[in-house]
Protein backbone atom coordinates (compact mmCIF):
# COMPACT_ATOMS: atom_id res chain seq x y z
CA UNK A 1 0.00 0.00 0.00
CA UNK A 2 2.74 2.40 0.94
CA UNK A 3 4.55 4.02 -1.98
CA UNK A 4 7.60 6.19 -2.66
CA UNK A 5 7.16 9.84 -3.70
CA UNK A 6 9.38 11.46 -6.30
CA UNK A 7 9.61 15.13 -7.17
CA UNK A 8 11.69 15.68 -10.25
CA UNK A 9 13.03 19.17 -11.09
CA UNK A 10 9.82 20.89 -10.00
CA UNK A 11 9.47 24.67 -10.42
CA UNK A 12 6.44 26.79 -9.57
CA UNK A 13 5.33 30.37 -10.04
CA UNK A 14 2.73 32.61 -8.47
CA UNK A 15 2.00 34.90 -11.36
CA UNK A 16 5.45 35.93 -12.49
CA UNK A 17 7.24 35.34 -9.19
CA UNK A 18 9.16 32.12 -8.94
CA UNK A 19 8.34 30.44 -5.64
CA UNK A 20 10.00 27.09 -6.17
CA UNK A 21 13.09 26.43 -8.21
CA UNK A 22 14.15 23.11 -9.63
CA UNK A 23 13.25 21.00 -6.61
CA UNK A 24 14.08 17.31 -6.70
CA UNK A 25 13.17 15.22 -3.71
CA UNK A 26 12.69 11.49 -3.18
CA UNK A 27 10.75 10.17 -0.25
CA UNK A 28 11.14 6.42 0.26
CA UNK A 29 8.16 4.18 0.91
CA UNK A 30 7.16 4.33 4.59
CA UNK A 31 9.45 7.23 5.33
CA UNK A 32 8.42 10.45 7.12
CA UNK A 33 10.09 13.48 5.58
CA UNK A 34 9.74 16.99 6.95
CA UNK A 35 9.93 20.14 4.85
CA UNK A 36 11.44 22.72 7.17
CA UNK A 37 11.97 26.44 6.69
CA UNK A 38 10.76 29.94 7.46
CA UNK A 39 7.56 31.23 5.89
CA UNK A 40 8.01 31.88 2.20
CA UNK A 41 10.71 29.24 1.81
CA UNK A 42 8.55 27.13 -0.52
CA UNK A 43 7.62 24.31 1.85
CA UNK A 44 3.89 24.96 1.70
CA UNK A 45 4.09 25.50 -2.05
CA UNK A 46 5.69 22.07 -2.34
CA UNK A 47 2.90 20.51 -0.32
CA UNK A 48 0.25 22.27 -2.40
CA UNK A 49 1.94 21.06 -5.58
CA UNK A 50 1.91 17.46 -4.35
CA UNK A 51 -1.73 17.85 -3.27
CA UNK A 52 -2.68 19.32 -6.64
CA UNK A 53 -3.89 22.73 -5.44
CA UNK A 54 -1.13 24.16 -7.61
CA UNK A 55 0.31 23.02 -10.90
CA UNK A 56 4.08 23.08 -11.40
CA UNK A 57 5.46 25.17 -14.26
CA UNK A 58 8.01 22.50 -15.03
CA UNK A 59 8.99 19.14 -13.60
CA UNK A 60 7.01 16.10 -12.56
CA UNK A 61 5.59 14.50 -9.43
CA UNK A 62 5.33 10.74 -9.10
CA UNK A 63 3.78 8.57 -6.43
CA UNK A 64 4.64 4.88 -6.66
CA UNK A 65 5.25 5.22 -10.39
CA UNK A 66 1.92 6.98 -10.92
CA UNK A 67 2.35 10.42 -12.53
CA UNK A 68 0.44 12.99 -10.46
CA UNK A 69 1.65 16.11 -12.22
CA UNK A 70 -1.56 16.88 -14.15
CA UNK A 71 -3.99 14.83 -12.09
CA UNK A 72 -6.80 16.78 -10.31
CA UNK A 73 -6.63 16.69 -6.51
CA UNK A 74 -9.61 14.41 -6.01
CA UNK A 75 -7.99 11.67 -8.09
CA UNK A 76 -4.62 11.76 -6.32
CA UNK A 77 -5.60 9.69 -3.29
CA UNK A 78 -3.57 11.65 -0.75
CA UNK A 79 -4.45 12.02 2.93
CA UNK A 80 -4.09 15.66 3.99
CA UNK A 81 -4.04 17.07 7.52
CA UNK A 82 -4.57 20.84 7.52
CA UNK A 83 -3.22 23.51 9.81
CA UNK A 84 -6.72 24.75 10.64
CA UNK A 85 -8.06 21.17 10.68
CA UNK A 86 -10.53 22.04 7.88
CA UNK A 87 -13.24 19.85 9.37
CA UNK A 88 -16.64 20.04 7.68
CA UNK A 89 -18.66 22.15 10.12
CA UNK A 90 -21.99 20.80 8.89
CA UNK A 91 -21.11 17.13 9.43
CA UNK A 92 -20.75 15.17 12.66
CA UNK A 93 -17.35 13.83 13.72
CA UNK A 94 -18.28 10.41 12.36
CA UNK A 95 -19.49 11.80 9.03
CA UNK A 96 -16.33 13.86 8.75
CA UNK A 97 -14.23 10.72 9.07
CA UNK A 98 -16.52 8.76 6.74
CA UNK A 99 -16.50 11.49 4.06
CA UNK A 100 -13.56 10.08 2.08
CA UNK A 101 -15.00 6.56 2.21
CA UNK A 102 -18.31 7.87 0.86
CA UNK A 103 -16.47 9.40 -2.12
CA UNK A 104 -14.92 5.97 -2.74
CA UNK A 105 -18.33 4.38 -2.92
CA UNK A 106 -18.04 2.43 0.34
CA UNK A 107 -21.50 1.33 1.56
CA UNK A 108 -22.96 3.14 4.55
CA UNK A 109 -22.73 0.27 7.06
CA UNK A 110 -19.12 -0.48 6.12
CA UNK A 111 -18.35 3.25 6.15
CA UNK A 112 -19.64 3.58 9.67
CA UNK A 113 -17.71 0.54 10.86
CA UNK A 114 -14.41 1.71 9.42
CA UNK A 115 -14.85 5.31 10.56
CA UNK A 116 -15.71 4.14 14.08
CA UNK A 117 -12.67 1.85 14.14
CA UNK A 118 -10.46 4.77 13.14
CA UNK A 119 -12.02 7.06 15.76
CA UNK A 120 -11.34 4.28 18.26
CA UNK A 121 -7.67 4.40 17.29
CA UNK A 122 -7.39 8.13 17.91
CA UNK A 123 -9.40 7.80 21.13
CA UNK A 124 -12.45 9.77 20.04
CA UNK A 125 -15.10 7.05 19.58
CA UNK A 126 -17.17 8.60 22.37
CA UNK A 127 -17.48 11.87 20.45
CA UNK A 128 -18.59 10.35 17.13
CA UNK A 129 -21.94 12.16 17.05
CA UNK A 130 -20.69 15.58 18.15
CA UNK A 131 -20.43 18.57 15.84
CA UNK A 132 -16.77 19.46 15.16
CA UNK A 133 -17.40 22.99 16.45
CA UNK A 134 -17.85 21.56 19.95
CA UNK A 135 -14.38 19.95 20.09
CA UNK A 136 -11.13 21.23 21.53
CA UNK A 137 -8.16 21.97 19.27
CA UNK A 138 -6.46 18.67 20.07
CA UNK A 139 -9.65 16.70 19.45
CA UNK A 140 -10.21 18.50 16.15
CA UNK A 141 -6.71 17.59 15.05
CA UNK A 142 -7.33 13.94 15.97
CA UNK A 143 -10.51 13.96 13.86
CA UNK A 144 -8.57 15.49 10.99
CA UNK A 145 -5.94 12.78 11.38
CA UNK A 146 -8.56 10.02 11.49
CA UNK A 147 -10.24 11.49 8.41
CA UNK A 148 -6.97 11.42 6.48
CA UNK A 149 -5.94 7.96 7.68
CA UNK A 150 -9.22 6.13 7.16
CA UNK A 151 -8.97 6.29 3.37
CA UNK A 152 -5.67 4.37 3.70
CA UNK A 153 -3.82 6.71 1.35
CA UNK A 154 -0.45 5.74 -0.10
CA UNK A 155 0.77 9.19 0.96
CA UNK A 156 -0.05 11.29 4.01
CA UNK A 157 0.69 15.00 4.17
CA UNK A 158 0.68 17.31 7.17
CA UNK A 159 0.55 21.10 6.80
CA UNK A 160 1.81 22.58 10.07
CA UNK A 161 -0.72 20.40 11.87
CA UNK A 162 0.30 21.37 15.40
CA UNK A 163 0.81 25.11 15.09
CA UNK A 164 -2.60 25.97 16.58
CA UNK A 165 -2.11 23.83 19.69
CA UNK A 166 -0.49 24.80 22.97
CA UNK A 167 3.08 23.72 23.73
CA UNK A 168 2.33 20.67 25.90
CA UNK A 169 -0.29 19.26 23.54
CA UNK A 170 2.03 19.86 20.63
CA UNK A 171 4.62 17.49 22.04
CA UNK A 172 2.01 14.83 22.90
CA UNK A 173 0.41 15.05 19.47
CA UNK A 174 3.64 14.74 17.57
CA UNK A 175 4.46 11.54 19.39
CA UNK A 176 0.98 10.30 18.59
CA UNK A 177 1.29 11.24 14.92
CA UNK A 178 4.67 9.51 14.70
CA UNK A 179 3.31 6.33 16.32
CA UNK A 180 0.31 6.18 14.01
CA UNK A 181 2.51 6.81 10.99
CA UNK A 182 5.01 4.14 12.06
CA UNK A 183 2.38 1.49 12.72
CA UNK A 184 0.70 2.20 9.36
CA UNK A 185 3.98 2.56 7.54
CA UNK A 186 2.49 5.29 5.36
CA UNK A 187 4.86 7.47 3.35
CA UNK A 188 4.49 10.96 4.83
CA UNK A 189 5.40 14.55 4.08
CA UNK A 190 5.32 16.89 7.05
CA UNK A 191 5.53 20.68 6.66
CA UNK A 192 6.65 22.75 9.63
CA UNK A 193 8.65 25.81 10.61
CA UNK A 194 9.50 24.32 14.00
CA UNK A 195 12.98 22.80 13.96
CA UNK A 196 12.53 20.73 17.13
CA UNK A 197 9.28 19.30 15.78
CA UNK A 198 10.84 18.42 12.42
CA UNK A 199 13.95 16.83 13.93
CA UNK A 200 12.04 14.81 16.53
CA UNK A 201 9.43 13.38 14.20
CA UNK A 202 11.22 12.75 10.90
CA UNK A 203 13.32 10.10 9.27
CA UNK A 204 14.78 12.80 7.08
CA UNK A 205 14.41 16.59 6.94
CA UNK A 206 14.53 18.84 3.90
CA UNK A 207 15.64 22.33 4.88
CA UNK A 208 14.38 24.91 2.38
CA UNK A 209 15.11 28.55 1.73
CA UNK A 210 13.84 30.99 -0.92
CA UNK A 211 12.29 28.23 -3.02
CA UNK A 212 15.37 26.02 -2.99
CA UNK A 213 16.35 22.87 -1.18
CA UNK A 214 19.35 23.67 1.05
CA UNK A 215 20.05 20.26 2.55
CA UNK A 216 18.17 16.98 2.77
CA UNK A 217 19.38 14.45 5.31
CA UNK A 218 18.80 12.68 8.60
CA UNK A 219 18.27 15.04 11.57
CA UNK A 220 21.50 13.78 13.20
CA UNK A 221 23.54 14.79 10.17
CA UNK A 222 21.83 18.15 9.79
CA UNK A 223 22.41 18.90 13.44
CA UNK A 224 26.08 17.97 13.51
CA UNK A 225 27.26 18.52 9.94
CA UNK A 226 25.36 21.29 8.15
CA UNK A 227 26.42 21.45 4.52
CA UNK A 228 26.40 25.22 4.07
CA UNK A 229 26.24 28.46 6.02
CA UNK A 230 22.46 28.78 5.67
CA UNK A 231 21.81 25.41 7.24
CA UNK A 232 24.57 26.02 9.79
CA UNK A 233 22.94 29.24 10.97
CA UNK A 234 19.50 27.63 10.81
CA UNK A 235 20.50 24.82 13.19
CA UNK A 236 22.16 27.21 15.61
CA UNK A 237 25.80 27.52 14.56
CA UNK A 238 26.07 31.10 15.81
CA UNK A 239 29.81 31.46 15.22
CA UNK A 240 30.95 31.31 11.62
CA UNK A 241 34.54 32.47 11.25
CA UNK A 242 36.30 32.82 7.88
CA UNK A 243 39.86 31.47 7.76
CA UNK A 244 42.75 31.36 5.28
CA UNK A 245 45.36 28.62 5.47
CA UNK A 246 48.83 30.15 5.88
CA UNK A 247 50.89 27.02 6.47
CA UNK A 248 50.53 23.27 6.18
CA UNK A 249 52.73 20.93 8.20
CA UNK A 250 51.57 17.37 7.57
CA UNK A 251 48.44 16.88 9.64
CA UNK A 252 48.52 20.32 11.23
CA UNK A 253 47.18 23.36 9.38
CA UNK A 254 47.86 26.91 10.49
CA UNK A 255 45.02 29.25 9.57
CA UNK A 256 44.58 32.99 9.94
CA UNK A 257 41.57 35.15 10.66
CA UNK A 258 41.89 38.91 11.18
CA UNK A 259 45.51 38.56 12.17
CA UNK A 260 44.91 35.75 14.67
CA UNK A 261 46.21 32.29 13.90
CA UNK A 262 44.90 28.95 14.96
CA UNK A 263 46.47 25.51 14.53
CA UNK A 264 44.00 22.83 13.53
CA UNK A 265 44.47 19.09 13.17
CA UNK A 266 43.08 17.52 9.98
CA UNK A 267 42.76 14.27 11.87
CA UNK A 268 40.18 15.96 14.06
CA UNK A 269 38.48 18.25 11.51
CA UNK A 270 38.83 16.33 8.26
CA UNK A 271 40.47 17.72 5.14
CA UNK A 272 40.78 21.50 5.34
CA UNK A 273 40.71 23.57 2.11
CA UNK A 274 42.83 26.71 1.63
CA UNK A 275 39.98 29.05 2.53
CA UNK A 276 37.22 27.85 4.77
CA UNK A 277 34.66 28.76 7.41
CA UNK A 278 34.85 27.37 10.90
CA UNK A 279 31.27 27.03 12.16
CA UNK A 280 30.23 26.16 15.68
CA UNK A 281 27.52 26.63 18.29
CA UNK A 282 28.45 28.54 21.48
CA UNK A 283 29.19 25.25 23.27
CA UNK A 284 31.81 24.40 20.63
CA UNK A 285 33.84 27.47 21.61
CA UNK A 286 35.10 27.19 25.19
CA UNK A 287 36.37 30.14 27.21
CA UNK A 288 39.81 29.49 28.70
CA UNK A 289 41.99 31.75 30.85
CA UNK A 290 45.04 29.50 30.34
CA UNK A 291 47.48 31.68 28.35
CA UNK A 292 48.96 28.55 26.73
CA UNK A 293 45.61 27.42 25.30
CA UNK A 294 45.38 27.13 21.50
CA UNK A 295 42.50 29.54 20.79
CA UNK A 296 41.36 32.95 19.59
CA UNK A 297 42.16 35.85 21.92
CA UNK A 298 38.97 37.56 23.08
CA UNK A 299 37.63 40.19 25.41
CA UNK A 300 34.68 38.86 27.43
CA UNK A 301 31.45 40.84 27.55
CA UNK A 302 28.01 40.15 29.01
CA UNK A 303 27.67 36.85 30.90
CA UNK A 304 24.38 34.95 31.01
CA UNK A 305 23.53 31.81 32.96
CA UNK A 306 22.23 28.85 30.96
CA UNK A 307 21.98 26.22 33.68
CA UNK A 308 24.51 23.83 32.17
CA UNK A 309 27.10 26.56 31.50
CA UNK A 310 27.76 30.29 31.46
CA UNK A 311 27.53 31.99 28.11
CA UNK A 312 29.66 35.00 27.16
CA UNK A 313 29.25 37.63 24.48
CA UNK A 314 32.83 38.06 23.24
CA UNK A 315 34.64 40.69 21.20
CA UNK A 316 37.49 39.45 19.01
CA UNK A 317 39.39 40.95 16.08
CA UNK A 318 37.34 38.53 13.94
CA UNK A 319 34.15 40.10 15.21
CA UNK A 320 31.47 39.25 17.73
CA UNK A 321 31.43 35.61 18.90
CA UNK A 322 29.39 33.70 21.47
CA UNK A 323 31.17 31.17 23.68
CA UNK A 324 30.45 29.04 26.74
CA UNK A 325 32.49 28.82 29.93
CA UNK A 326 32.57 26.45 32.85
CA UNK A 327 30.20 26.85 35.79
CA UNK A 328 33.01 26.58 38.33
CA UNK A 329 34.74 29.85 37.46
CA UNK A 330 32.40 32.69 36.45
CA UNK A 331 34.43 35.41 34.72
CA UNK A 332 33.78 39.15 34.82
CA UNK A 333 33.22 41.35 31.79
CA UNK A 334 36.48 42.75 30.44
CA UNK A 335 38.54 39.63 31.20
CA UNK A 336 41.00 38.70 28.45
CA UNK A 337 40.83 35.06 27.54
CA UNK A 338 41.11 32.50 24.75
CA UNK A 339 38.22 30.90 22.88
CA UNK A 340 39.16 27.29 22.21
CA UNK A 341 37.27 25.41 19.44
CA UNK A 342 36.16 21.86 20.24
CA UNK A 343 36.70 19.84 17.05
CA UNK A 344 33.78 17.43 17.57
CA UNK A 345 31.38 20.40 17.91
CA UNK A 346 32.72 22.29 14.93
CA UNK A 347 32.36 21.87 11.25
CA UNK A 348 34.40 23.11 8.34
CA UNK A 349 32.42 24.74 5.53
CA UNK A 350 33.58 25.81 2.11
CA UNK A 351 33.76 29.60 1.90
CA UNK A 352 30.93 30.43 -0.50
CA UNK A 353 32.13 33.96 -0.91
CA UNK A 354 29.45 35.25 1.40
CA UNK A 355 30.84 37.82 3.88
Amino acid sequence: MTQPLDLHAVSAHYGTTKVLEDLSLSVQAGELVSLLGASGCGKTTTLRLIAGFLTPTTGSIQLGGRDLTRLPTHKRDIGLVFQNYALFPHLSVLDNVAFGLKQRGVGSAERRKRAMAMLERVGLAALADRAPGALSGGQKQRVALARALVIEPPLLMFDEPLSNLDAKLRVDMRVEIRQLQRSNGTTSVYVTHDQEEAFSISDRVAIMNAGRLMQFDRPEVLYRRPANTFVARFVGFENIIPFKVVARDGDVVTADTAGMTLRLSQAAYGAIPDTFLLATRPDGLVVSTDPAAEGLPAQLGLRTYLGRAYQYQCETPAGHLVANGSLTTPLEAGTSSKLVPMPEQCTILANEGAR
Binding site: G52, F53, L54, T55, P72, T73
Partner: protein, 262 residues
Amino acid sequence: MPDRPHPILIGVAALVYLFLMLPLVIVVGAALSDTTYLTFPPQGLSLRWFENIFEISAFRRTIVTSLQIALMGTLIALLIGIPAAYALNRFRIELPKWLGTLFVLPILVPEIVFGFALLKSFTVGTGAPIFLSLLIGHTLIVLPYVVRVISASLASFDFSIEEAAISLGSAPAKTFFTIVLPNVRAGVIAAFILAFITSLNDVSVSLFLTGPGISTLPIQILAHVEQFFDPTVASVSVLLMFLTVAVMAVVERTLGLTFLAK
Protein backbone atom coordinates in the same frame (compact mmCIF):
# COMPACT_ATOMS: atom_id res chain seq x y z
CA MET B 1 -6.08 28.03 -10.90
CA PRO B 2 -7.28 24.43 -10.90
CA ASP B 3 -10.65 25.32 -9.27
CA ARG B 4 -11.90 27.63 -12.01
CA PRO B 5 -15.70 27.62 -12.22
CA HIS B 6 -17.42 25.62 -14.95
CA PRO B 7 -17.69 27.52 -18.28
CA ILE B 8 -21.50 27.33 -18.12
CA LEU B 9 -21.43 29.12 -14.77
CA ILE B 10 -19.13 31.79 -16.17
CA GLY B 11 -21.52 32.20 -19.09
CA VAL B 12 -24.51 32.63 -16.76
CA ALA B 13 -22.63 35.18 -14.67
CA ALA B 14 -21.71 37.12 -17.81
CA LEU B 15 -25.37 37.19 -18.88
CA VAL B 16 -26.44 38.34 -15.41
CA TYR B 17 -23.97 41.21 -15.59
CA LEU B 18 -25.19 42.09 -19.09
CA PHE B 19 -28.73 42.07 -17.68
CA LEU B 20 -27.59 44.44 -14.91
CA MET B 21 -25.69 46.88 -17.11
CA LEU B 22 -27.63 47.06 -20.36
CA PRO B 23 -30.73 48.87 -19.02
CA LEU B 24 -28.55 51.59 -17.51
CA VAL B 25 -26.73 52.02 -20.82
CA ILE B 26 -30.10 52.31 -22.54
CA VAL B 27 -31.22 55.05 -20.15
CA VAL B 28 -28.06 57.01 -20.90
CA GLY B 29 -28.64 56.57 -24.63
CA ALA B 30 -32.26 57.67 -24.38
CA ALA B 31 -31.24 60.77 -22.42
CA LEU B 32 -28.97 61.88 -25.24
CA SER B 33 -31.63 61.43 -27.92
CA ASP B 34 -32.70 64.35 -30.10
CA THR B 35 -36.27 63.09 -30.48
CA THR B 36 -39.30 64.09 -28.45
CA TYR B 37 -40.14 60.51 -27.63
CA LEU B 38 -38.10 57.83 -25.89
CA THR B 39 -36.01 55.74 -28.19
CA PHE B 40 -32.84 53.71 -28.28
CA PRO B 41 -30.38 53.82 -29.95
CA PRO B 42 -30.56 57.63 -29.81
CA GLN B 43 -31.39 59.32 -33.12
CA GLY B 44 -29.17 62.35 -33.20
CA LEU B 45 -27.33 63.37 -30.11
CA SER B 46 -28.29 66.40 -28.06
CA LEU B 47 -28.25 67.70 -24.56
CA ARG B 48 -31.62 69.46 -24.92
CA TRP B 49 -33.36 67.14 -22.49
CA PHE B 50 -30.82 68.00 -19.83
CA GLU B 51 -31.66 71.67 -20.34
CA ASN B 52 -35.30 70.74 -20.14
CA ILE B 53 -34.86 69.42 -16.59
CA PHE B 54 -33.97 72.86 -15.38
CA GLU B 55 -36.68 74.55 -17.42
CA ILE B 56 -39.37 72.52 -15.70
CA SER B 57 -39.78 74.29 -12.37
CA ALA B 58 -41.12 71.16 -10.63
CA PHE B 59 -37.83 69.38 -11.32
CA ARG B 60 -35.82 72.39 -10.20
CA ARG B 61 -37.75 72.61 -6.95
CA THR B 62 -37.69 68.91 -6.14
CA ILE B 63 -33.98 68.58 -6.84
CA VAL B 64 -33.36 71.25 -4.22
CA THR B 65 -35.78 69.65 -1.76
CA SER B 66 -34.26 66.20 -2.27
CA LEU B 67 -30.73 67.46 -1.69
CA GLN B 68 -31.82 69.44 1.38
CA ILE B 69 -33.67 66.50 2.89
CA ALA B 70 -30.91 64.03 2.10
CA LEU B 71 -28.21 66.26 3.58
CA MET B 72 -30.14 67.27 6.68
CA GLY B 73 -31.58 63.81 7.30
CA THR B 74 -28.16 62.19 6.98
CA LEU B 75 -26.54 64.72 9.31
CA ILE B 76 -29.25 64.28 11.96
CA ALA B 77 -29.00 60.49 11.61
CA LEU B 78 -25.22 60.75 12.14
CA LEU B 79 -25.76 63.04 15.11
CA ILE B 80 -28.03 60.60 16.91
CA GLY B 81 -26.68 57.41 15.32
CA ILE B 82 -22.97 57.79 16.17
CA PRO B 83 -23.55 58.05 19.95
CA ALA B 84 -25.96 55.13 19.72
CA ALA B 85 -23.48 52.98 17.80
CA TYR B 86 -20.76 53.94 20.27
CA ALA B 87 -22.97 53.04 23.24
CA LEU B 88 -23.93 49.70 21.65
CA ASN B 89 -20.26 48.73 21.37
CA ARG B 90 -18.80 50.37 24.48
CA PHE B 91 -21.61 49.25 26.79
CA ARG B 92 -22.32 45.94 25.10
CA ILE B 93 -22.76 44.13 28.41
CA GLU B 94 -24.77 46.82 30.16
CA LEU B 95 -27.27 47.53 27.39
CA PRO B 96 -30.01 45.03 26.47
CA LYS B 97 -29.66 43.11 23.21
CA TRP B 98 -32.97 44.32 21.77
CA LEU B 99 -31.62 47.85 21.58
CA GLY B 100 -29.45 46.84 18.64
CA THR B 101 -32.47 45.32 16.90
CA LEU B 102 -34.50 48.48 17.55
CA PHE B 103 -32.19 50.54 15.35
CA VAL B 104 -32.62 48.09 12.47
CA LEU B 105 -36.43 48.28 12.65
CA PRO B 106 -36.76 51.13 10.13
CA ILE B 107 -35.48 48.83 7.37
CA LEU B 108 -37.16 45.76 8.80
CA VAL B 109 -40.74 47.06 8.66
CA PRO B 110 -42.04 47.73 5.16
CA GLU B 111 -41.01 51.27 4.22
CA ILE B 112 -44.35 52.00 2.64
CA VAL B 113 -46.11 51.08 5.90
CA PHE B 114 -43.77 53.38 7.79
CA GLY B 115 -44.49 56.25 5.40
CA PHE B 116 -48.23 55.73 5.71
CA ALA B 117 -48.08 55.41 9.50
CA LEU B 118 -46.02 58.57 9.84
CA LEU B 119 -48.55 60.45 7.69
CA LYS B 120 -51.61 59.13 9.52
CA SER B 121 -50.39 59.22 13.10
CA PHE B 122 -47.90 62.06 13.07
CA THR B 123 -48.50 64.52 10.25
CA VAL B 124 -52.29 64.37 10.25
CA GLY B 125 -52.46 63.69 13.97
CA THR B 126 -50.32 66.63 15.07
CA GLY B 127 -50.65 68.92 12.10
CA ALA B 128 -46.87 68.99 11.72
CA PRO B 129 -45.53 70.65 8.56
CA ILE B 130 -44.91 68.34 5.59
CA PHE B 131 -41.25 69.27 5.32
CA LEU B 132 -40.66 68.28 8.95
CA SER B 133 -42.45 64.95 8.46
CA LEU B 134 -40.42 64.27 5.34
CA LEU B 135 -37.20 65.05 7.22
CA ILE B 136 -38.15 62.79 10.13
CA GLY B 137 -39.08 59.97 7.76
CA HIS B 138 -35.79 60.21 5.88
CA THR B 139 -33.75 60.49 9.09
CA LEU B 140 -35.30 57.27 10.34
CA ILE B 141 -34.87 55.22 7.16
CA VAL B 142 -31.16 56.10 6.97
CA LEU B 143 -30.56 55.61 10.71
CA PRO B 144 -30.12 51.81 10.42
CA TYR B 145 -27.33 52.27 7.83
CA VAL B 146 -25.57 54.79 10.06
CA VAL B 147 -25.78 52.64 13.18
CA ARG B 148 -24.84 49.44 11.40
CA VAL B 149 -21.89 50.74 9.38
CA ILE B 150 -20.41 52.68 12.30
CA SER B 151 -20.99 49.76 14.67
CA ALA B 152 -19.05 47.55 12.26
CA SER B 153 -16.17 50.05 12.37
CA LEU B 154 -16.32 50.25 16.15
CA ALA B 155 -16.38 46.47 16.46
CA SER B 156 -12.81 46.38 15.22
CA PHE B 157 -11.81 49.40 17.32
CA ASP B 158 -9.65 48.54 20.32
CA PHE B 159 -11.27 50.33 23.24
CA SER B 160 -8.11 49.95 25.31
CA ILE B 161 -6.72 52.83 23.21
CA GLU B 162 -9.48 55.02 24.57
CA GLU B 163 -8.73 53.84 28.10
CA ALA B 164 -5.06 54.56 27.53
CA ALA B 165 -5.89 58.13 26.50
CA ILE B 166 -8.08 58.62 29.56
CA SER B 167 -5.43 57.16 31.85
CA LEU B 168 -3.04 59.73 30.38
CA GLY B 169 -5.38 62.48 31.55
CA SER B 170 -7.64 63.15 28.56
CA ALA B 171 -11.27 63.89 29.47
CA PRO B 172 -13.73 61.17 28.25
CA ALA B 173 -15.73 63.51 26.05
CA LYS B 174 -12.60 64.97 24.50
CA THR B 175 -11.17 61.47 24.07
CA PHE B 176 -14.17 60.50 21.98
CA PHE B 177 -13.46 63.27 19.51
CA THR B 178 -9.66 63.03 19.51
CA ILE B 179 -9.20 59.26 19.72
CA VAL B 180 -12.35 57.29 18.88
CA LEU B 181 -13.85 59.30 16.03
CA PRO B 182 -10.63 59.63 13.96
CA ASN B 183 -10.22 55.87 14.12
CA VAL B 184 -13.66 55.16 12.70
CA ARG B 185 -13.44 57.94 10.12
CA ALA B 186 -13.80 55.44 7.25
CA GLY B 187 -17.00 54.08 8.78
CA VAL B 188 -18.43 57.57 9.20
CA ILE B 189 -17.70 58.45 5.57
CA ALA B 190 -19.22 55.20 4.34
CA ALA B 191 -22.27 55.71 6.55
CA PHE B 192 -22.71 59.25 5.25
CA ILE B 193 -22.56 58.12 1.62
CA LEU B 194 -24.88 55.15 2.04
CA ALA B 195 -27.36 57.25 3.99
CA PHE B 196 -27.23 60.14 1.55
CA ILE B 197 -27.79 57.95 -1.50
CA THR B 198 -30.54 55.97 0.22
CA SER B 199 -32.36 59.15 1.14
CA LEU B 200 -31.90 60.66 -2.30
CA ASN B 201 -33.40 57.58 -3.96
CA ASP B 202 -36.22 56.92 -1.53
CA VAL B 203 -39.72 56.52 -2.91
CA SER B 204 -41.82 54.52 -0.47
CA VAL B 205 -41.60 56.85 2.52
CA SER B 206 -41.64 60.10 0.56
CA LEU B 207 -44.73 58.92 -1.32
CA PHE B 208 -47.02 59.85 1.56
CA LEU B 209 -45.07 62.78 2.92
CA THR B 210 -45.30 65.10 -0.04
CA GLY B 211 -47.83 67.84 -0.29
CA PRO B 212 -48.60 71.09 -2.00
CA GLY B 213 -45.33 72.63 -3.09
CA ILE B 214 -43.17 69.99 -1.45
CA SER B 215 -42.05 66.86 -3.25
CA THR B 216 -38.85 64.92 -3.76
CA LEU B 217 -37.12 64.22 -7.04
CA PRO B 218 -37.97 60.47 -7.27
CA ILE B 219 -41.65 61.25 -6.58
CA GLN B 220 -41.57 63.99 -9.23
CA ILE B 221 -39.97 61.57 -11.72
CA LEU B 222 -42.65 59.01 -10.95
CA ALA B 223 -45.39 61.59 -11.53
CA HIS B 224 -43.73 62.84 -14.72
CA VAL B 225 -43.35 59.33 -16.20
CA GLU B 226 -47.02 58.63 -15.64
CA GLN B 227 -48.01 61.78 -17.59
CA PHE B 228 -45.35 62.31 -20.23
CA PHE B 229 -43.16 59.81 -21.97
CA ASP B 230 -40.32 62.07 -23.08
CA PRO B 231 -36.56 61.81 -22.55
CA THR B 232 -36.55 64.36 -19.70
CA VAL B 233 -36.90 61.56 -17.19
CA ALA B 234 -34.03 59.71 -18.78
CA SER B 235 -31.92 62.85 -18.43
CA VAL B 236 -32.82 63.23 -14.76
CA SER B 237 -31.99 59.57 -14.28
CA VAL B 238 -28.62 60.08 -15.89
CA LEU B 239 -28.08 63.10 -13.65
CA LEU B 240 -28.80 60.92 -10.62
CA MET B 241 -26.47 58.22 -11.96
CA PHE B 242 -23.72 60.79 -12.42
CA LEU B 243 -24.22 61.85 -8.84
CA THR B 244 -23.86 58.20 -7.80
CA VAL B 245 -20.73 57.78 -9.90
CA ALA B 246 -19.27 60.95 -8.40
CA VAL B 247 -19.98 59.73 -4.89
CA MET B 248 -18.50 56.31 -5.70
CA ALA B 249 -15.40 58.00 -7.10
CA VAL B 250 -15.00 59.84 -3.81
CA VAL B 251 -15.37 56.56 -1.94
CA GLU B 252 -12.84 54.91 -4.23
CA ARG B 253 -10.33 57.67 -3.57
CA THR B 254 -10.79 57.63 0.17
CA LEU B 255 -11.60 54.05 1.08
CA GLY B 256 -11.43 51.77 -1.94
CA LEU B 257 -14.63 50.61 -3.54
CA THR B 258 -14.94 47.12 -2.17
CA PHE B 259 -15.56 48.86 1.15
CA LEU B 260 -19.18 49.41 0.15
CA ALA B 261 -19.79 45.74 -0.41
CA LYS B 262 -19.04 44.86 3.18
